[in-house]
Amino acid sequence: MTSMDSTPAPSGLDEALSNPFRADHQRPSRASRFDATIDRLSERLNPILVKEARQALKSRQFVITFSLLLACGWAWSLVGIALASPGIYFAPGGTFMLIGYYFVLAAPVLVVVPFSAFRSLAAEREDGTFELLSITSLGSRQIVTGKLGSAILQMVVYYSALAPCIGFTYLLRGIDIFTIAFVLFYTFVTSVMLAALGLVVATVTRSRQWQVVLSVLLLIGLLVVTVAWSITAVNIIFSGNSMPYQTLDFWTSNLAVVTFCISFVVLFVLVAAAMISFASDNRSTKLRVVMMVQQVLWTGWMTYCWMRTEADEMLVVFMVFPGIYWYLMGALMVGENAQLSPRVKRSLPQSFLGRMLLTWFNPGSGTGYSFAVANMASLFLVVAVLGMLAEAAALAGAPDNFGWLLFGLLATCYVVIYLGIARLIVLGIRQFAYVGMFVPFLIGLFVSLLGCATPAFLQAWWFGYSELEYSPFQASNWMWTLAEAANDDLLSTPAVPLVVGASAALVYGLNLLFAIYEVEYVRQETPQRVIEDEHDRVGAPSSEKSASGEDHHLSREP
């Protein structure tokens, strides 16, 4: 065997060119025709999806799950009919049967699929195949969406396998098609979200021990969610025919829920992609954009909801979830490193307006802090303006007190204060030691809980539990203070809002001092070689291939 005969003979090459999907001269078998069709279909699909679909067909886990699902489906059909037997010919039995099928479907779709999505990404990282993948042209987002895609594909397979059974329940009557679709749809949505979450969990750590701990936690979490959703689903199935399908509100609220679910799936995918992307990549800007989109979605839907329900509690709810959301996201962003790589600096905004508006999307703890605070504050502004307008126009939905206003203001201030303190602590620690993003997150949680627990505990200690009444001493206790504000009781202790407001201003000012340098980054020149290459790639539009290397493929050479 010499090196010479390793170059393919031209005739063989021509043959391959004229018939790319057939390597040999034989008549294509059915399997290879099938392969060829798949090949043509798969050309535009995510490579990971194609690979995993092929793998799944040969994988024992998939075959076992699938056969079990079928077996259980059939078993339930027999058992269920037997149980309902005497009545099934005259009484509607659909509800009863559907509940059984729901559980047959929920186990693989809500537990097995998300967990195997987690495992499949985690295993790539453990086995070292991830590194090989990461140096291909696949982006980290494609890797994650490929994994998610193959999870969805599995779900679709399971759904289709059970479709005849589900159809059967409809024929049995007692349940309408809307309820069936509703339950199946939300089971699907939940499953997709769980799978995306599983992918995020897979990227959290690379160490094997932690991976084991996380997989146990994830499994517990999946079971909890499955149980919770199953209870809901069973309730929905039972109360099926009383669902308000005809009303507009039913559809709009579902639309709202679905848009949020989608936005969270996108967020999870981008988080997972950011976690596995190259260290010098910009890992935060895209995430911040998604957060911003979620904020807009929330504002829009809540405004709509408030206008429909005309309840002023809505204005409090309006601020509750964003308060938690921005605090958690802020705690993560505060842990970001402000050292921008030259690569990130190449695409920084340059114009004055661009810098003013877009700097807050740059990676960094200061910009992250400001971003969270700015979002929280703008939400508060929206709420305030809405409430005031309603008040001024004396609309029906106009709030009859100012508790909601104080609540929003204080919630914003607490986010400013506790995030700011967490950030200052992190900056302090960073002077001496390296900390990743997880520690700042924990610090954020810890600081805010400490702020609650300390005054409550001290007051209880000094005055006894029986005397535990709200006092200005509880100013740092955000839980209690906000509860008081929401109940409209806080105005009796006006010192508290003043103290909180002043501290917020102080902490914010201090933090700004330490964020100045992050704003000072300016765009860096793109190297000449990169411009050249960009030019080459645009100049040679024939294919990606010709730009990928100056030399031709070996096989084309004589």
């Binding site: 090989l132 042209s137 990169v530 290459d533 096989s555």
Partner: protein, 314 residues
């Protein structure tokens, strides 16, 4: 102008792990079409620097350029031009050789005919044709190495980084691998290949770099290094009479060390090249010594390697 730009350039590359200086100020260049051997004992820092080149790790300090692109700032451009064959490679369950290569071809953005061409070519080149349907988990070491080489060249990269490709191969497979690497280089690929063994690389490499404890100790063509470190060649002569006088005569010279007399045999280390050895012989003859034999033993590659490296393992 493509020819003046080095395809691989390490610029003062450093990589520290806590207190370990895995790569410590390494710089070298590899030109297009060149095969560069990267040699060092265990723990020398070969894998670490190759991983940085393959954009899998970031340097603590310094940079590495592939075809002019920084691995830190333009990893995606580097990746399009670079094929990496790691020392240990991960496999997927339930995947056969063809599917494995096909997957990576897709991952590198090859579509349709382009992909089937690339697959066909690579499987032919690495002689995997017969194994196409074999599951990769059942491959032998040698087959895996070939598959891995095939994977690393599926997107026709202009630079190949091969980390100990010959480890675990039988002698025949080694020779075939050497031929494959040479052939790739003849087609204009730039290749960086690592090994523990200098002799293994000597034949196929245009130049080698010897690294130990993260530091590059010598760079150059194999003969250059050999010559550079053959400062002391071992000389053995057989003299028929006047052994004692010869001993004295030699001891008086400045360029002789480690003089040992063993009956008629006189051994010493001589600092000088072959021309100077010829001069030494003539002087001895002119000084009336009856020299019956004059042998000079140039250091073997192994000796050079042992001489250059100190045998420290971090």
């Amino acid at each position: 102008m493509n020819d003046v730009r080095p395809m691989i350039m390490l610029q003062r590359l450093h990589r520290f792990f806590d207190n370990t200086r895995a790569v410590d100020d390494v710089s070298f260049e590899v030109m297009r079409g060149e095969v560069f051997g990267y040699i060092g004992p265990n723990g020398a820092g070969k894998t670490t620097s190759m991983r940085i080149l393959a954009t899998l790790d970031l340097p603590t300090y310094g940079d590495a350029l592939v075809d002019g692109f920084s691995v830190i700032n333009d990893p995606d451009r580097v990746r399009r031009r670079l094929g990496f064959m790691p020392d240990a490679f991960g496999t997927y369950p339930n995947v056969n050789c063809r599917e494995y290569l096909d997957f990576f071809a897709r991952a590198y953005g090859l579509r349709g005919r382009e992909r089937s061409d690339a697959l066909k070519h690579v499987m032919g080149f690495t002689k995997l044709d017969g194994l196409a349907e074999k599951p990769i988990r059942g491959l032998s070491k040698g087959m895996k190495q070939r598959l891995c080489l095939g994977r690393s060249m599926i997107h026709d990269p202009s630079v190949l980084i091969l980390d100990e490709p010959a480890a675990g191969l039988d002698p025949r497979a080694r020779i075939e691998l050497r031929q494959m690497i040479r052939e790739l280089a003849d087609h204009g690929k730039t290749i960086l290949v690592s090994s523990h063994i200098l002799t293994e690389l000597a034949e196929m490499c245009d130049r080698v770099g010897i690294i130990e404890q993260g530091q590059l100790l010598a760079v150059g063509a194999v003969e250059e290094i050999q010559r550079g470190h053959a400062v002391l060649s071992e000389v053995e002569i057989r003299v028929l009479e006047n052994v004692a006088r010869l001993r004295q005569w030699l001891a008086d010279r400045g360029d002789i060390e480690n003089l040992v007399v063993d009956g008629e045999l006189v051994r010493f280390s001589h600092a000088g090249d072959r021309r100077e050895q010829a001069a030494l012989l003539r002087e001895m003859v002119l000084a009336d010594f009856s020299i019956a034999a004059f042998g000079c033993h140039v250091k073997s590659l192994e000796d050079v390697f042992m001489h250059v490296t100190q045998g420290f393992v971090q």
